[in-house]
């Protein structure tokens, strides 16, 4: 049973309320010692470096597939020259940030949910509490910050790889040279295509971290509860990321005057 099959109004409100309070606690704790720098670095490595392989494959595929799919139509309209520019704008503005966020959320949120969930069930979180070790700072603050740091970096990395994937297709199918591809792309994108896409992933990173931690930290009901925490973490964080994206697009249009 997952979140979607338990969708009662009360359950949704419970979750929203719980998440909001948990987020509030995060912001209060994030600026108060102890600052667990060592653990933050370890978690950033865990989220960032450990996701890099997955992100690389997804990145290349996004660029390559988008190029392959759009080629026939663009050629029909005599717009073959615009393919690199069109692909670049779509990838940087939307596809790479959102797809990477959702895919990384699947890996990271579930991982955090299951890890903290089993720590809760085996009383490790209670043990930290009793030993006055501030489990919230040690476990939650570090993981959420790690997601907020790693996800934008992963997105930039995926941006480059997606463009590389697009170039590969263009080079094989149309024999396009690297420098022509580069110049076509650079002349069709602006800062406002790149920056908002990266900035919004900081918020997506916050969502995936806080949802994973919330589900795990409040896990109950033994082993079954741990499984539920992991599933709910993925479902809720993916859903919230997509909803937040709609908001982010609106804000981008407002602040960056993109047309």
């Amino acid at each position: 049973m997952n979140v979607l099959s338990r969708l009662t109004l009360r359950h949704i409100l419970d979750k929203i309320g719980g998440l909001a309070m948990f987020s509030g606690r995060f912001f209060r704790s994030a600026f108060h010692p102890p600052f667990e720098t060592k653990e933050l670095i370890r978690q950033t490595y865990e989220v960032g470096v450990r996701s890099a392989g997955l992100v690389a494959i997804v990145g290349v595929v996004i660029g390559a597939v988008l190029t392959m799919q759009s080629r026939p139509t663009m050629i029909k309209f005599g717009a073959e020259a615009f393919i690199p520019g069109m692909v670049a704008v779509s990838v940087l503005r939307e596809l790479s940030p959102v797809l990477i966020s959702v895919i990384v959320a699947g890996r990271v949120s579930a991982g955090i949910g299951a890890e903290l969930g089993s720590m809760r069930v085996t009383e490790q979180i209670d043990a930290m509490e009793v030993a006055a070790l501030n489990p919230f700072n040690y476990l939650v603050v570090t993981r959420v910050l790690a997601c907020m740091i790693a996800l934008p970096l992963l997105t930039v990395y995926a941006d480059f790889l997606a463009l590389f994937g697009s170039y590969l297709v263009q080079s094989i199918e149309a024999g396009m040279s690297g420098s022509l591809f580069y110049h076509t792309v650079m002349s069709s994108i602006e800062f406002a295509d790149f920056a908002p896409g990266v900035i919004k992933t900081i918020f997506f990173g916050f969502i995936m971290g806080i949802v994973g931690c919330y589900e795990g930290y409040n896990s109950e009901g033994g082993t079954e509860g741990v499984g539920r925490s992991a599933t709910d973490a993925v479902v809720v964080s993916s859903l919230l990321i997509i909803i937040a994206d709609v908001l982010a697009v609106k804000l981008t249009v407002f602040f960056f005057d993109v047309n």
Binding site: P34, T122, Q124, D126, A127, M128, E129, A132, L133
Partner: protein, 271 residues
Amino acid sequence: MPEKDSTSSKKLIEVNNVSKAFGENHVLQGISLSISEGETLTVLGKSGAGKSVLLKIIVGLMEPDEGEVFYEGASITRAKEKELNTIRTNMGFLFQGGALFDSMTVGENLNKILEAHTDLSFEEREQRIRHSLQLVSLGDKLDEMPSSLSGGQKKRAGLARSIVLQPKLILYDEPTTGLDPITASSIAELILTLQTELKVASIVVTHDLPTAFTISDDAIVLDGGVKIYDGPVEGLSNSHHDHLDEFLNAAKLDRSRREKIIQKAKKEKIE
């Protein structure tokens, strides 16, 4: 048996009239107890009698619905997080499964606590860690991961972690549950040794009578959230309380009970 003298020894923990309910289930109803420095108290009762909840309230992991808990006269129930954390550095807590942090080695588990609460140098910390592990006979497990330890070893390692800050009080949540009788009695022995060597007070929650008889002077018995016995452990067997008799009989090695149960089952089958 040491004389109970509340005037000369300071009250370490005082539990005043504590009640706790989960919905309709009244787990604790007006429980009071106190313990002085160096004393040992066993809390007996069957599963679900509210023993673990009582421990969690004492250490501030749960809030009671009514009543209050004091540590050396300071309220734990109403303490702010910072005060509570200061109080907690004087307490050790042994969880049922040991609750070792499983992403760290046994040594790192102990070090994490020393690092957070003391200014000791690396060498001093290492010495303290080795000493604590030796006390529980796990001197050779310093670099092992918790997942490679047996159940009894996990509890001992958890105990080493509870004593590394040299607390005044250790709370034990079912220290012998789930262990074979030999390992269980070795844990009980260890608890008693630590009490004698380190002079710490202990509150031990258990349903294991042999352990209770080995380690403590005084016991209280909980049933249905109510205290039904409070006194020396020796008095348990002649208190003539129904539930208590049942509890004591269940722990006896008595072959005649077997016959009684079989007869009863057969009779029910015929009817």
